[in-house]
């Protein structure tokens, strides 16, 4: 049972419910509740982290991540593994979100988009790295709950050389 994953009150989500969803999602990641987090994705949902500034094509342009639920599940399962050497010791993350902005809502199409500026910190051992990004959530209501159809994370320095980025922004 996923805690903090309430049904929406009415037939359609309010702006407040959309905003709260984005905040809860980030909190789940920082609390390392990765299996709960996976349930927030629609079955055909994607997590996308472009490599190019303003990238529009995830297929014939490379991305840092473009993963369906199967690949996300592999990541979450891997994080629990006994022989996941790059996670011994484990990484931790910290999100600071600006208030999410509801970009668009289309009740007839069951499509809601939020845009959130954020700072994200990932740390492991003595290293701590700060990333600045914008998260765009494409959400839909399924069985009375908000679900992620696409979470897009645009890093301000998407084309820089990075070391390991091991968790989820």
């Amino acid at each position: 049972m996923n805690r903090n994953d309430p049904k929406i009150d009415g037939a359609f989500p309010s702006d407040r419910e959309l905003v709260d969803f984005v905040l809860r999602e980030a909190r789940m990641l920082d609390q390392q509740r990765f299996e709960d987090w996976l349930t927030l994705f629609a079955n055909d949902g994607y997590y996308w982290m472009p490599l190019e500034w303003g990238q529009t094509d995830p297929r014939l342009v490379c991305s840092l991540m473009y993963e369906d639920k199967l690949l996300l599940s592999v990541r979450v399962e891997r994080l629990k593994g006994e022989r996941t050497f790059s996670q011994k010791p484990r990484s931790r993350s910290h999100h600071v979100l600006q208030m999410p902005h509801v970009e668009s809502r289309d009740e007839a199409a069951n499509s809601y988009v939020t845009w959130t500026a954020m700072h994200y910190v990932e740390t492991r051992n003595d290293e701590q790295t700060l990333y600045a990004a914008w998260a765009t959530h494409h959400l839909a209501v399924e069985d009375g709950k908000l679900r992620i159809k696409l979470k897009r994370v645009d890093l301000v320095n998407c084309d820089a050389a990075f070391g390991n980025i091991q968790l989820f922004m």
């Binding site: 014939l60 473009y66 996941t84 790059s86």
Partner: protein
Amino acid sequence: MSRYAGDAEAIRKLVREAEVHRDVFVDEELFQLEMEHLFANTWVYVGHDSQVANEGDFYTTTIGSQPVVMVRHTDGEVKVLLNRCPHKGVKIAGETCGNTGKVFRCPYHAWRFRTDGSLHSLPWTQGYDNTGFKDSPAALGMTRVKNVHNYRGFVFARLNDEGPGFEEFFGDSLSSFDNMVDRSPVGKLQVAGGVLRYMHNCNWKMLVDNQTDTCHPMVAHESSAGTAKAMWQKAPEGTPKPMAVEIFVPFMSPYEDFDKMGIRVWENGHGHTGVHHSIHSDYSAIPGYFDQMKAAYGEERAKAILGEARHNTVYFPNIMIKGPIQLLRLFKPISANRTLVESWTFRLVDAPDLLLERTLMYNRLINAPTSVVGHDDLEMYERAQEGLHANGNEWVNMHRLYDPAELTQKNVVTVGTNEWVMRNTYRAWAHFMTLDM
């Protein structure tokens, strides 16, 4: 205190028949000597000519520690220039790529250079009359690297004027480039999809070494490929196999399989894994592709080209290519304990888009800073970079399947878990480090 500069004998002693001294990885003085000698005596990959398709197109990069610019000259040839204004040293081409027209113009004092490096003009020239400027090195313009070779689109340069010729240096190993290019029905590649740039806190040779290390995938990558395999095995029967699963699962092949895949060893540190079969052999066919190849080459030749599934071909000193998925990884040395890994991908011109899509998926699943495979590799390199400082045993071991007879053999196919290519890497290292000492 200098321990190695000017002492070829001391450098050669770092490489034993099947062991390498840890200084080769951790010593900053040796790193500086590598930049001065090794990266000047060898043919180093610069870039692909599709990155500079038109006259005036340029691309900036490095050869070892040297800033260079690769440019398409007005005569249609690709030139490689040291990216430094002869005046004050300013890097003239500032962006990664662009078009400069017929001349480069230094943004500091507007000195201009033709795209072969020669000085075109200076502003307000009367100040140089009778100053001796004409006879100064500055009057020669940007320094051009004389030894540049474009092999089927792949541009290499040797910084030193003297040294081995291109064919002599690469020999039979060029067959891996041939296979990659031949996979296009029109025999042409284009850089495509963007480059993944991944910073590694380790020595560049750890990456070179890893490319023919067939005893690590089933161990280091158990957490990623093994998890993907286990999850796939739980999928209901009849589920179509996703491309990502096809890519991950072969990493878990057992030792016996890697043994049978074979390794080919060439001279000068070049070699490749996957002679008879490889982790890339069993990918699904791409609709329409074989028919295009058959039309271009005839059935027999098309089958021969696509039947080669070479895994990793490592070219000394610092690249690896994968012919079957059109990928090139460049290990750019920054310091003894820092390396920038660039993973480049190519489109097979006139072949279906799905091939590029698979190549890009492979690149992000395996080579990205966000890759679960990359994470565990980097963890091993970084632990080695730290662990090598332990005293007591100063040697890195490469005895697997060592036979002294190999010292006189050339162009050999051997068992796939042999560490022969690694041993050859360090033999080549000692040779090209000291060639001009």
